[in-house]
Subunit: 198 residues, 2 copies
């Protein structure tokens, strides 16, 4: 006498999406079935296809449809510099600057002990193997400047520094165009500590 | 050189979900591919199946896997009372009270001129045909007490009243267990207007 099982299953399955609880899942299911069946069909198909064809690039670990992604296979990129980021979105931000023509390594996460993500879960051994290929000379850490991102950067720096690699970190400071009045005190303090001589 | 097309397609397809913008869609896609491939496969399957098997009950218009849902097909329910609700979730709330053993009609929405949902989009003619089957004696309007729900109730009441049906509406008033001090003035005013003699 309750709702049909295929509807219940859809509502339940939608809860695997991050940030989606029982109420939003119900709202989403009704919306898809009532107002956007084409969108739902497209989503089911796109999801199935992504699961089928996407894997991790053997070199940079980002999502790729080929064993080695196009960026890593590009001989015009400088293989001596390896930039480590947390997620593909971060890689896209750095690419967008057009200020870096080296290669990347995408961690696909960050160290987060509270969520049970340690060095093993983050597969840092894959990064170490990649960075010690004999070609990479400098590893640039571009993880986020959050507590977890900083902790990740420190751990990676120790692991790679112990193997004789030059390890650097994106600088912290006042944003370009930023007015001191509107920048938080922690950032200004950091900009003072890391001040550069003219 | 950018992200693989199947990933872009998945991110784009996720945006058909209500309340999901480009950033959440990206976060969802990464989460599914990186942390919950089983959940994603289950979701793709549940969505495909729901689209395949779910239709609207010919009588009450709710989602059903059969032409007529189990509730409408149940001869023990009182077919003389028809309760009109906006969504299946509202039906579930009323069923949960165990205070109603009539049948339902689910509008699958509400009148909302701003969203382009008028009487035609809401298929009110299907409700009229259902309510004038010669068996229904009373239609109980249980749309929400929002502006849109009230407008929907008024429109339906006019349409069905003109056809000689008894039309009623859920009462408004102070919630059971509610303390006047914590009930909004509009509700208290309504409870005064709709006061009942002992």
């Amino acid at each position: 006498m309750s709702s049909p099982s295929s509807l219940d299953e859809l509502i339940d399955a939608l809860r695997c999406l991050p940030g989606v609880g029982p109420r939003s899942a119900q709202r989403m299911a009704y919306h898809l079935l009532q107002r956007d069946q084409r969108g739902a069909a497209r989503l089911a198909h796109a999801m199935g296809r992504a699961l089928d064809v996407l894997r991790h690039c053997e070199r940079c670990n980002t999502f790729s449809e080929t064993d080695v992604c196009a960026r890593c296979a590009n001989p015009r990129r400088d293989a001596r510099q390896l930039c480590v980021v947390e997620m593909p979105a971060d890689l896209a931000v750095i690419e967008h600057t057009h200020a870096f023509d080296g290669l990347y390594y995408v961690l696909m996460g960050r160290l987060s002990p509270l969520d049970g993500i340690g060095p093993r879960e983050l597969k840092l051994d894959k990064l170490i193997a990649r960075a010690t290929d004999g070609v990479v000379e400098e590893v640039i850490l571009a993880t986020n400047f959050t507590n977890e991102g900083e902790a990740t950067a420190h751990t990676v720096a120790e692991l790679l520094g112990a193997r004789g690699l030059k390890v650097s970190r994106l600088s912290r400071g006042v944003p370009v165009g930023g007015e001191l009045e509107h920048v938080d005190a922690g950032t200004v303090a950091q900009a003072l500590v890391e001040r550069r001589t003219f």
